[in-house]
Symmetry: C2
Subunit: 241 residues, 2 copies
């Protein structure tokens, strides 16, 4: 048989655009936990048909950010403390393992990016969304240093619930100053080659982020899932509108 060569360039699909919009709106709480997501309504709002909307909701459901109940409706998931803890564990495992795997000679370009990143985090009156973007970039950069940048995508896909909880915490804080200091500490230890201190600083940082969740949960319980036990026998949820 002859070899058949297939060429394809990446094209703009409306599904990708819809997915990114919806995901951002869920993570930023613009679409709050519990909100109803009607496929028809979203399609009309976004100016597309149900198909790309539906496919986006399926992907978001796979990430745990949306719950789809056949013949009933689709809803933004409440923040599930169990999933927050799961994401915390996964993230800590990956980021600490990466620190264990740092090469002797760090990529100077990446190190420069990280330094610049921390500097920008220090800007007074920084916007929260901007800080989050820098924070993501910082942690991603640390993984790049160890050559495991690709693992970040898996962490990102799993930590949606954690991100929403973090956002809740930061919205109530005056400034993300504490976290900026922790970032600087981690980077300092890494560049000094002090792996043990880097691990300690990273663990303290991630745990500090995690500890915020319980505080927020006490203040805004309606945003959290009430599935206290492992698995409910009946798949039932209550929506307050």
């Amino acid at each position: 048989m002859m070899g058949r060569v297939v060429k394809a360039n990446e094209r703009k699909t409306s599904r990708r655009a819809v997915y990114e919009v919806l995901r951002r709106q869920v993570l930023t709480m613009e679409l709050p936990p519990g909100a109803a997501l009607s496929e028809n309504e979203l399609a009309a709002t976004l100016g597309v048909s149900r198909t790309p909307v539906r496919e986006s909701l399926i992907l978001l459901a796979e990430e745990g950010l949306v719950q789809v109940f056949p013949q009933v409706g689709s809803f933004v998931s409440r923040v599930d403390p169990v999933k927050v803890a799961d994401a915390q564990f996964l993230r800590e495992a990956v980021e600490l393992a990466a620190l264990d795997d740092l090469p002797a000679a760090l990529d100077p370009a990446v190190v420069a990016d990280l330094r610049s990143n921390v500097e920008r985090q220090r800007r007074p009156g920084i916007d929260l969304e901007e800080f989050f973007a820098l924070d993501e970039e910082f942690h991603h950069g640390l993984l790049r240093l160890s050559g495991h940048a690709n693992a970040w995508a898996t962490v990102v896909a799993a930590k949606g619930h954690l991100d929403r909880a973090r956002r809740l915490g930061l919205y109530e804080a005056d400034s993300p100053g504490t976290f900026v200091h922790q970032h600087a500490d981690i980077l300092d230890a890494v560049t000094r080659g002090d792996a043990e201190q880097a691990r300690t600083a990273m663990r303290a940082h991630l745990r500090a982020v995690f500890d915020d969740v319980e505080r927020i949960r006490a203040r805004s319980p309606e945003l959290f899932s009430s599935n206290s036990t492992t698995a409910p026998t009946r798949r039932s949820i209550a929506i307050w509108e």
Copy 2:
């Protein structure tokens, strides 16, 4: 506003069935790397419409098991050594972190399951598919011991490429005896409470699995992606039929 209570039971959807069938066929190499997956053809074969087939392919593409090229076609991904290494790193990070987090008192029911599992792995002439199922259950059980069973789902979603490489390795081996021994070693160390030895044994086990990949790659290079460098400037692939 009044509280609105929504009840919904989980229903059978053909999409879930199609997804599971396709995923199994990809992981077992029944659909080999590089195979063309026509949505129309699959729909006709499975007796459903394009919609559930298409939605399943989107999910598989998200896992990296399938590549979709708009207006060109969908294909089973070749085993990407980079993704195999990524999955290996992720898995090792998670499973070792779980061993660090074992409680003082292990759940005796889970321990009994693990012992029974290893015994069944020892059965002579064991079928390969059965061994894989037991292997999955074994590692999942170890995560359960540390209370991080949910992290297994994330690992599973990320390790599709690794699993296919492993399967290739075992298909050529006479028996999975070496791995069974390693499983037994890990379980022994865990039940003895020797966390350090458990970590060592686990690391050796996972690395042994990983080392098989290069051997297989040398023997069956056509099943592997040839993206030697980081990112190709053109999204082009070659299919041999």
